[in-house]
Symmetry: C2
Subunit: 224 residues, 2 copies
DNA sequence: AGACTATTCAAAGGATCGTTTGAATACTGG
DNA sequence: CCAGTATTCAAACGATCCTTTGAATAGTCT
């Protein structure tokens, strides 16, 4: 085969990106980084690993150019380098969801009764946003809401949901969303809300998917 | 962090897909499998590796459910399991192209003068297909053409191009395409054609990208 | 059924990766 | 300039991955 050196070097470079997504820890980072920027320490805490180890994984992601950094005060914040990285993570997620039976089993075990939550897809939801009968709840931590959220969504982090129940209009259907299709916050929110007599469902995906679909994202009152 | 077991198992599963794309050899396989189905032996020959080794890599791809097999006679043919696998490969390719400086360098070295070939993108080409002033040349091996090609394209494998030059209309602009943006066949075709006085350019991407864009693909005279 | 052959398996080596530990670095903020 | 701290580095270990080799398997075809 001619041009072998060209191909070896070329595919070798692309494989650096493949290697970057070849670890559970790094994929979890990407999922989190799709929500907002995080410091090394925050990521280490959120994912239960040592700071040195988190730093090593981040280095791999940075070498493959999937993430970028900026310094603010004494913290270094990591963010995705590109919306294409979300595309990459979505492609992996979609293949896994569609083809890996083991993922079904895990979801059945830990997101029991998920189908009862009648997940709403983004497009359907967009159409209903103009009607005024639906209340959108962003149940992610506040820091993620602040970096961008669905238009008109209200931030009620899952931990604070119980103490804000009386502020919610019981006549409007509530749709909760969080980080993505495998984020448990929305499931927990729907479960709690239904127990207390609300009509509630979850959105199928999360904010990054909404954004990738080209739908409008709100941030500090300004539309993107 | 609660739900750690859920996340570990879930991201662990997704990482199997990541691991599958973490090797240059397997990425090259995916690029080839996006063109047509191949037997183990064909893939091993095309990529200059031993059959046992190719078989081992294919096993990884199959375990991650990126490829499927069928038997025909005494050969086992591997094919992509899903169009989503092309999406995955495209996402990796796009990130690499946009962000890895080393890839630029490799392309400059081995695809010298590429920009002179004035690559045409798919959408532009689609519009010109209806006019009759352009001749589309599929310079991939015949077997790949047979599994699907651009509407109206003529198959002239790069090895046979020289001996078919006199059959080509010198008054029509020729657009050559092959496997993808990093496939050298189209570059070689354009170079040869221009030397012989033809007006020639290459298409920027390959057939799989054309198909993924939702554009029509022809196969054995039937449109897809 | 038996010869043939494409593919897979098993074992073994060398290389690479993941994690931990403790120290070094680099920047901040006063 | 100095103290403090978030982050990175270096070394070392075990685990995993890649490749080769030779044998085993599982089908086909006569």
């Amino acid at each position: 085969m001619a041009h072998r050196e060209f191909k070896d070097r070329l595919y070798g470079e692309f494989a650096r990106i493949g290697k970057a997504v070849a670890s559970p820890q790094r994929l979890e980072f990407l999922d989190l980084l799709a929500q907002r920027e995080w410091s090394v320490e925050e990521l280490a805490n959120e994912t239960d690993q040592s700071i040195a180890n988190a730093s090593a994984h981040l280095k791999v992601l940075r070498t493959a150019q999937l993430v970028e950094t900026r310094r603010d005060g004494s913290y270094i914040y990591y963010r995705l380098a590109d919306q294409n990285v979300v595309r990459l993570w979505q492609a992996i997620r979609d293949i896994g969801q569609e083809r890996l039976a083991e993922i079904d089993r895990i979801v059945d075990q830990f997101m029991a009764g998920r189908d009862d939550f009648q997940p709403v897809d983004a497009q359907t939801l967009l159409n209903r946003l103009h009607e005024d009968d639906v209340l959108l709840l962003d149940v992610r931590p506040k820091a993620e809401y602040d970096q961008g959220h669905l238009p008109g969504a209200r931030s009620v982090p899952i931990d604070e949901l119980e103490s804000h129940l009386e502020e919610l209009d019981p006549d409007r259907e509530i749709i909760a969303y969080c980080r993505g299709p495998y984020c448990l916050f929305a499931d927990e929110a729907v479960e709690l809300l239904r127990q207390r007599g609300f009509q509630a469902r979850r959105m199928a995906d999360g904010l990054p998917d909404w954004r990738m679909a080209g739908l409008p994202v709100q941030r500090e009152g300004v539309n993107e």
